[in-house]
Point group: C2
Chain length 143, copies 2
DNA sequence: CTGCATCCGCAATGATACTG
DNA sequence: CAGTATCATTGCGGATGCAG
């Protein structure tokens, strides 16, 4: 951990202490864009964002919907997303408390790119699977 | 590891033994699309694909260009990408051997969605950073 | 109900050394 | 140059328990 870092547990720091050249090079290790890319490239972030783009949801609703996520990771991811301003969290002071998550305008912007990706994934899944099988066969025979 | 799984090291299996319902639910743990999504959502895959979309590259050229990647991860990711049919690998039998990586048509399809995402990331980075700062401040005072 | 804190195993990653 | 093999470490992610 360096100076500018914060303590979000699930947040992998890229060692970016006061980067001086913010623009242009996504391939530089300390580029802030890459940090963002890492967040986007998170296993759960994508799924959450997709869900929230459709409708606001409660914590447990999300958890039920996204199979395989633990509350820890869900909570963690949600907090990261909130911190990035992609998701908003609103608390109604009922008893017990009611927490609702929603996508922000900023998040909705990202959602556009994301959905294109998902769509691609669903479309090309067949081809990819075929490629994998071919590759595996070749490996098995070649050694 | 289950039956259908293979031994690519960097490949996190989602326990998908002969999934029966391939379509529709990206949120199901065993959905093949999600496997693909995980691949896409890889830290290095994105970067590599972006680079190769611009031009064919050699191994070390990639390594030099992508700061912070270890040969191990680069090699690993490259192999995954090749297995998925997104990247092609060609070997010229020179001495020493010359290996060139290129993006495939399939990979280029994905590249479209990807570049939209990168573009978004670069555009909205400022806003996200601002949101982060605001969040952190709020935490610091309220926390 | 909605979380946060803690412990902990294991997979993923990185550093280093070695091969062709 | 283009990797593979080995070893050390990290921190993800799951399970559990507790709090508001």
């Amino acid at each position: 951990m360096q100076e500018g870092t914060i303590s979000i547990p699930g947040h992998r720091e890229v060692t970016a202490p006061a980067q001086s050249r913010p623009r242009g090079d996504v391939y530089a290790a300390n580029c802030p864009t890459r940090q963002l890319l890492d967040r986007i490239a998170d296993k759960w972030s994508t799924l959450i964002l997709m869900l929230l783009a459709a409708e606001d949801m409660r914590f447990n609703a999300l958890k039920r919907r996204i199979q395989g996520v633990s509350q820890k990771m869900l909570s963690q991811t949600l907090r990261s997303l909130e911190r990035d301003g992609l998701v908003s969290r609103s608390v109604e002071p009922t008893v017990p408390v009611t927490v609702t998550y929603a996508i922000t305008p900023l998040g909705r912007g990202l959602f556009g790119s994301l959905s294109a990706m998902i769509e691609w994934a669903e479309t090309c899944m067949i081809e990819v699977t075929a490629a994998q099988r071919a590759y595996d066969l070749k490996q098995a025979s070649a050694g």
